[in-house]
Amino acid sequence: MIEPYNKLVKLAARAFYDDLTSKGDNQPKTGRSDNRGIAVVVLDALTRRQWVREEDLAKDLKLHTKQLRRTLRFFEEEKIITRDHRRETAKGAKIYSAAVAATADAATGKEGEEKVKLHTHSYCCLDYAQIYDVVRYRLHRMKHKLKDELENKNTVQEYICINCGKRYNALDALRLISFEDEDFHCERCNGKLEVESDKFAAQDGGDGGDGDENARRRRREKLKDMLQKMEVQLKPLIDQLGRVKDLPVPEFGTLQAWEARASAAGRAANGENSGDSKSHLGYNGAPMPYSGDTKVIVDFNGTEGKGEGVKSETDSTSLKVLPPWMITSGMNLTKEQRGEVKQEIKMDGTSTSTAAQYTDEKKSTIVHDDKNIQDEYIKAYYAALLKKQHEMEEAAKNPQDGNGADDPSSSTSNRQVGIKTKREEDDDGTEWEEAPVRGNGGYKVDLNVEAVAPAEDEDDEDDVDWEEG
């Protein structure tokens, strides 16, 4: 969603700010101080970030902060970025760092912890809504100006007396008409006045009536050429504007709002779903300096959850550091599938719907979970009766199932979802893609797992939407 806008920014940067120099014009341009193109680099870098501290940006771009600031100030004046300055301690900076860490594509490193005193930090961010308007306005003005000039609109005609060289303009016209003939006559010498072509033509070196005509024609051609060139060269930009027109504008809000949301989203992505809304509220409700330490909040979540919270957290951590475990669970599940293909079709109807529509709430998925688990047990019994081999597989699967059964029985089922998402987080992408393909197939357990994963995914997306809306 943000991608077309980023492209717009990049195009606009190359179109309008390519040869921008941040140095004043009075300074001589040596090879070293020639910093054209910096503006484009800065804008490109900003398209990959949301709110960014200017020192961090400078470090990333290997620019001097002063130089970067100058460029940023220019863009602020151009209404392309919004900036925020605030005095803050290291703690305040940490909030920002946490927020940065939470955003997926922020590549800035964490730093600023070493600062102890109050410092004024500046942050900047692209203002997409405004960029869209600014670019459109700029194009409109360019076109308008060229067209006006081309058609000699709004130019006050000038007249010159051939005899005495006195000049008049059209505003004097009323005094200049003589009653002997229809021409304009000089007030001083009563000589005939001639039309003097516009200044540009004069600059071109047009002299006398004939030269004037030529100069004017040349001028017109030049303008026409420029207009055509503009239309050709700015076509990609205009196209991009058209493409972006109906898209919702990515909006990061103010720095504070963005930080709050970003860190909340970050925690949500880390799988702490149950405490998410509460902690989010807590974060918002607390004043900035108070909520400085993110670690406190994490602890808060863990203790607040329940008795099993500790366990689940350790689980989740162990899960995270032990990908092999995850892989084996996946294998178990696929084995399970073979056994349970047929009877689960009814279940599939519901679970596929959750997978396909992504609209299911967590609770309903958990209900499904319960049913599925029960069914699994029944199935397992049948299977145990039928085949020894199945039993073996069942045994292999049991510990995992037991884990799954634990959570519903503890009746705080949200936590379970959290765990699962934690587990599924890494292979979200691939599994998620498979979901629609397998949707109608009856691979019940697999679907079940995936139904959770997309639901969580949806959750994440919800968060994002909510941020930007």
Partner: protein, 176 residues
């Protein structure tokens, strides 16, 4: 653009008007004096619409004339840059044409006339399109846009253009 504003003026009245009709005489003299004048500040006074109040008169030494400070409401017309006006052409020459929009004179120079209109000299000088369908001559009604004003203390003069959308002849006198 028209405005309805309150202006003030010191009216000198001859002693012969003193009597029962003093106020009426004062008002009619005010109208005669003021309507049609132009000030650079307020524009053309089009009409006096009412008297706010008449102050105490002061008798001039030696003459017997009495000066009344009069506050009056009036409609004024002041042209602005960018304003669209409808006007009547008064004179056409090869430099362009003059038109009147009420009290204000507007000059449209020939390069602010669309390029497809050519000057035709003769008994009745005019600007005509190549196919002859549109003709600007004396007494034509023209809608124009003001692109410049010259405001003196007692005079307002404008230059206009008809080189824009929806501008130009709005009524051909030959067709009526």
């Amino acid at each position: 653009m028209f405005f309805h504003i309150v202006l003030e003026r010191n009216m000198q009245l001859h002693p012969r008007y003193f009597g029962r009709n003093l106020r009426d005489n004062l008002v009619s003299k005010l109208m005669k004096d003021v309507e049609g004048t132009c000030s650079g500040r307020h524009g053309f006074v089009v009409a006096v619409t009412g008297i706010e109040n008449v102050g105490k008169g002061i008798i001039r030494d030696g003459t017997g004339f009495v000066t009344f400070p009069v506050k009056y409401q009036c409609v004024v017309f002041r042209p602005f840059k960018g304003e669209i006006l409808e006007s009547v052409v008064t004179m056409v020459n090869k430099m362009g044409f003059f038109a009147e929009a009420g009290p204000v004179q507007v000059f449209v120079s020939n390069h602010l006339i669309p390029d497809d209109m050519e000057f035709q000299s003769g008994d009745m000088p005019n600007y005509t399109t190549s196919d002859g369908s549109v003709k600007i001559q004396k007494d034509s009604e023209v809608r124009l846009k003001i692109i410049g004003t010259r405001v003196d203390a007692t005079e307002i003069f404008c230059i206009g253009t008809i080189k824009d959308d929806f501008l130009g002849v709005i009524n051909d006198p030959a067709a009526v």
